[in-house]
Subunit: 460 residues, 2 copies
């Protein structure tokens, strides 16, 4: 299959791109490299020394003999996204290209607005672009188990049958997200469901649990292919952080009681789940939801497992309870279903087997790179950082510019008329804000100005 | 009470501002006047000749002897919004300041993105500004009954108790919105619910049905106070359109079978509901949802009522069924609860009594202003207008500029640190993009630069 991975330079995206490439799919990566900029902003870095994207892709070609196409640009830039889809013609698009940290979204107004605008507009652009350019392409969208919150009933996969006053319906499962980031994913889910119903889009929403681990078979081929391992208070997920803490003899920082229970999965299962979703596509008009995790643990369970495994390596590991910086239940019922990916053939890797190999050993190997100052939670859910007007940055300018290109009210544009057939004057050129790996002359060749009708498709 | 009406120059907002002012509340209006620009964009106009906002407010002062404060600016501009709240110190904020047309949001990518960014960012700004400036202020937010869609079970007011596998929980009612506009309201609802839980905000979400009517007691005092009456295919709601069609002998345009059933209410009930919500505020931390409508009808019911009432006025009224431009069930179960506002004292106006007085007579009086070309639906849910890159307009620039001011990634800003107490250097000045009716010297008086600690409030 031809699979385009949006956000292919990120943690899950990179592992996914290599896995799919190794399994003989044609793989393209779209990324604006912003995840690396967020590290700079926060003054942190991944535990593992990841290489620039072009080096990674070259190393993959050398190690595996397979090419991956790269498109550098932002999915909030509609013209870039649309041109890329038109040029590459994927069978499936895997959409990881969102701001994915809950604490990042809770820093202050700016980060909340950025997270929601970036994620919602990127996904809206993708929906319109798929509808316009390749309506039969299957959208595989990364959601999160955090969309559901912690209800006092079993969590189903996307939908629940409700009986009420003698009647019954199958309805979207109620959502109770716990940060502006998680909210952005709920917004996306609603937007995608609507376009499946209205335009006949085909989409799979993967409500993923918390991913752990760094090493996949592909990444292990060469040190230059190494994947991210985030352990900081903003982007580091809980298990990575615990392993890094254990490696340097820092107490494991459990937030509150530690009874917060969540679904978890090994990154080797993430990549397999993505392939399963791609090779078993949703039907046209179907909005399908899979809960993508393999085991559920409480935070305190994890801390105790890390403590016990650490001791096998001769590490002395203590556990510290901090006041919970988040607003969340610290003890609660949690039982989330996750059978649909198993039904498609997923064979889970279990945490008890992976903890030493894929996590503790990595943390110990790179422990000289750990800065314990990054462990301490500094983003407080109850108290966003006060707003301070300031000069906009380069990236804020870029996002605003993308929106300015999309959002207009017709004053200077063409008159408002809603033609029943596509107009013929759609420009195909790549825009100046999206860099493409194609050269100027390539662009002229691959995206000539041509009547849209030639590439038209039935819209109803 | 001191009540600030965001969007007070719009259809519901204007009627609400005057009603609250007549009932001896102190009223402020915040509006960027953009609703009038959308008429220009679409080349349509309200049936009724509305006056500029400053004339309206002056006419109200003359007719009723009461002042209304006016702040011209955009709620997507955080500094403007925050300064206004700080200067005016409302007890309640009524938030009508959103793009509220489903067809407008479905025109094309630009209008979809504009609607969601404008509505979501405006509401996020408001939540942060209230939290920062007046955390005890009650937010009264206009949602829509369209958030629920048409489930096959009874619609409750915001929440539903679900029994599932032997357990039970009270959860948010599942949402199935039917346009990018309705989706934006669902996004808002989730964002607001989260801040009530996390920051202890107090909010009432009014899921309003379709409003009809133009004349309220206040508006009737002077022709210069007249309210909007939209009958066009984009902003005109169904009953207004039918009355305008009847007035000029044009067939009533029923979309599809006409079995689409919705909740409706008279604008005189809208204004009363708003007052009831304001004078009976939600508790701190409470996210309260009221379904705000009084009767439910199918579209065909309405067409037949207009036909029958039109004939009493000597009009010959026929009914035409057009292919439904929307994607929606044309026949379905519909039973939506709406008792919470009645419990607070709402005495509904019934459509059967209002149809002649408030609607048909207005349509007939101004029928020379009706352009039947505006009746025909041209926005097709299944087929958005293709994307055409074009020069951004003045308003697109303004929205992008507002976002640029808010969204930044810290490159040029202050270092990322999350202080545990408010910093003291928050600038209080109004910004240059929000015009205020206060003069420069007024500003200095009402918003002196003072340490935030003086106006500090407990944040946890």
């Amino acid at each position: 299959m031809r699979i385009l991975v949006l956000g292919g330079d990120g943690y899950c995206g990179w592992a996914t791109a290599l896995y799919l490439s190794a399994r003989n799919h044609s793989v393209g990566i779209v990324d604006n490299l912003v995840r690396r900029e967020w590290d700079s902003e926060l003054e942190v870095e991944t535990l593992t020394p990841i290489r620039p994207l072009s080096e990674r892709v070259a190393a993959w070609h050398k190690a595996a003999g397979r090419s991956v196409d790269v498109f550098i640009g932002d999915v909030t830039n509609y013209d870039f996204l649309c041109s890329t889809l038109k040029a590459w013609q994927p069978d499936a698009v895997v959409h990881f290209a969102e701001q994915r940290s809950a604490p990042y979204s809770m820093i202050d107004l700016e980060h909340a607005v950025f997270t929601q605008v970036n994620n919602v507009v990127g996904t809206l652009n993708l929906l319109f672009a798929l509808h316009e350019v390749c309506p039969y392409c299957h959208l595989v969208k990364l959601g999160t188990m955090g969309e559901y919150g912690t209800p006092n009933i079993d969590i189903e996969e996307g939908y629940i049958t409700i009986e009420h006053n003698g009647r019954r319906d199958l309805l979207p499962y109620p959502k109770q997200p716990g940060s502006f980031y998680h909210l952005s994913k709920v917004h996306d889910s609603h937007n995608i469901a609507f376009t499946c119903k209205t335009w006949g889009m085909r989409a799979t929403d993967l409500n993923q649990g918390i991913v752990y681990g760094t090493v996949t078979d592909e990444v292990a081929l060469d040190e230059a292919l190494i994947n991210r391992f985030d352990y900081d208070q903003v982007f580091g997920t809980v298990l990575n952080r615990f392993c890094a803490q254990a490696a340097v003899g820092y107490p494991l920082t459990v937030y509150g009681e530690g009874g917060q229970t969540r679904g978890f999965l090994d990154i080797r299962d993430t990549v397999r789940c993505i392939e399963l979703a791609c090779t078993h596509p949703a039907a046209p008009g179907e909005f399908r939801v899979f809960n993508q995790f393999t085991e559920q643990f409480s935070v305190l369970d994890l801390a105790r497992m890390v403590q016990s495994e650490g001791e096998k390596l001769g590490l002395k590991v203590s556990i510290d309870h901090l006041p919970d910086p988040r607003v969340e239940a610290e003890r609660h019922y949690y039982n989330a279903k996750h059978s649909r990916l198993s039904d498609l053939g997923l064979q889970p890797h279990l945490l008890s087997d992976a903890l030493l190999d894929s996590l503790m050993n990595i943390a110990v190997r790179y422990r000289d790179r750990i800065n314990p100052a990054h462990f301490q939670p500094r983003v407080n859910w109850r108290q966003p950082r006060p707003h301070v007007a300031q000069r906009p940055s380069r990236r804020a300018n870029a996002l605003a510019e993308s929106l300015r290109r999309v959002v207009r009210d017709g004053e200077n544009g063409e008159p408002i008329s809603m033609p029943s057939a596509p107009t013929l004057n759609r420009p195909d050129a790549f825009t100046d804000t999206g860099r493409s790996v194609l050269s100027e002359s390539d662009r002229a060749e691959s995206s000539p100005h041509e009547p849209a009708a030639v590439k038209g498709f039935p819209r109803d």
